[in-house]
């Protein structure tokens, strides 16, 4: 079993299913989604003060590249992609860090906010 298989297996076993979505804006404000179901972990909810009394959480998500590659989804994830975690939609913000072993993508580390 390769390292990629091991990591993917661990995230499948100890993580949870999430939906990663890329949206294209069509005429009339219609959003066209392309989804892929991935497995990953989510933690590190950090309240961040915004204007007035609003607060918005930021979370760090680690997902396997396996499902993205299998589905030939147009990875890697990028800013403004959306994720559904535990039924709530969040938005990918900032840069996405992909971890490699040689040429093989193992995982993507995302910072998300909202939900």
């Amino acid at each position: 079993m390769s390292v990629a298989d091991s990591i993917s297996g661990a995230l499948t076993r100890f993580g949870r299913p999430m939906t990663l979505r890329r949206e294209t804006l069509a005429p009339g404000g219609v959003k066209i989604p392309l989804d892929v179901e991935v497995y990953g972990t989510a933690d590190g909810w950090v309240p961040k003060s915004l204007v007035g009394s609003l607060a918005q959480g930021e979370r760090m998500i680690v997902i396997s590249d396996r499902e993205i590659a299998d589905r030939q989804w147009p990875g890697p994830p990028q800013q403004n992609d959306r994720m559904q975690i535990d039924g709530r939609w969040v938005t990918v913000v900032g840069g996405v860090e992909s971890k490699y072993l040689g040429p093989t993508v193992l995982v993507h580390i995302l910072k998300v906010t909202g939900g």
Partner: protein, 141 residues
């Protein structure tokens, strides 16, 4: 290999194709489909403005992607429209099929020829604007 849903209109980091100036665009091929017995193709043009027509050739390859064979040609004009087609790999085809690449008759399809990969070739004429978007999805079974 994976079956399930795939994006047919993926091109680079975009999941859908914005149609602008006249030209030909070949979207990323979905590969690794050797075990596929059938596939449903969903194509939708979200029309903005301008343009003349958009021809979408659904193609497969039987030689590892060296040459591509049209299995459908869907023509969109100047309106939002959706086309759905289903293909079966188990449909017998015992009379010779003469392959075409981007020249199949408009609004026709041929069943029974599914290789291990599928892609779409998009040929647009006229200049589309207003964020006209072509989307393609495929469910492989």
């Amino acid at each position: 290999m994976a079956l399930g849903q795939f994006g047919l209109s993926t091109n680079g980091s975009s999941s859908d194709l914005t149609v602008t100036a006249a030209g030909t665009t070949v979207c990323d091929a979905i590969t690794g489909l050797a075990a596929m017995l059938a596939c449903v193709v969903w194509l939708k043009l979200n029309y903005g403005s301008g343009g003349t027509n958009v021809k979408v050739y659904v193609q497969t390859s039987l030689d590892g992607g060296n040459t591509w064979v049209d299995i459908a040609c869907v023509v969109f004009a100047t309106a939002t429209e959706t086309a759905i087609l289903n293909f079966s790999a188990l449909t017998p085809k015992i009379s010779q099929v003469n392959p075409t690449d981007g020249s199949m008759t408009d609004d026709t399809a041929i069943d029974g020829i599914l290789g291990d990969r599928v892609r779409i070739k998009v040929v647009s004429t006229g200049t589309y604007a207003g964020s006209t978007v072509l989307s393609g999805r495929m469910v492989a079974r």
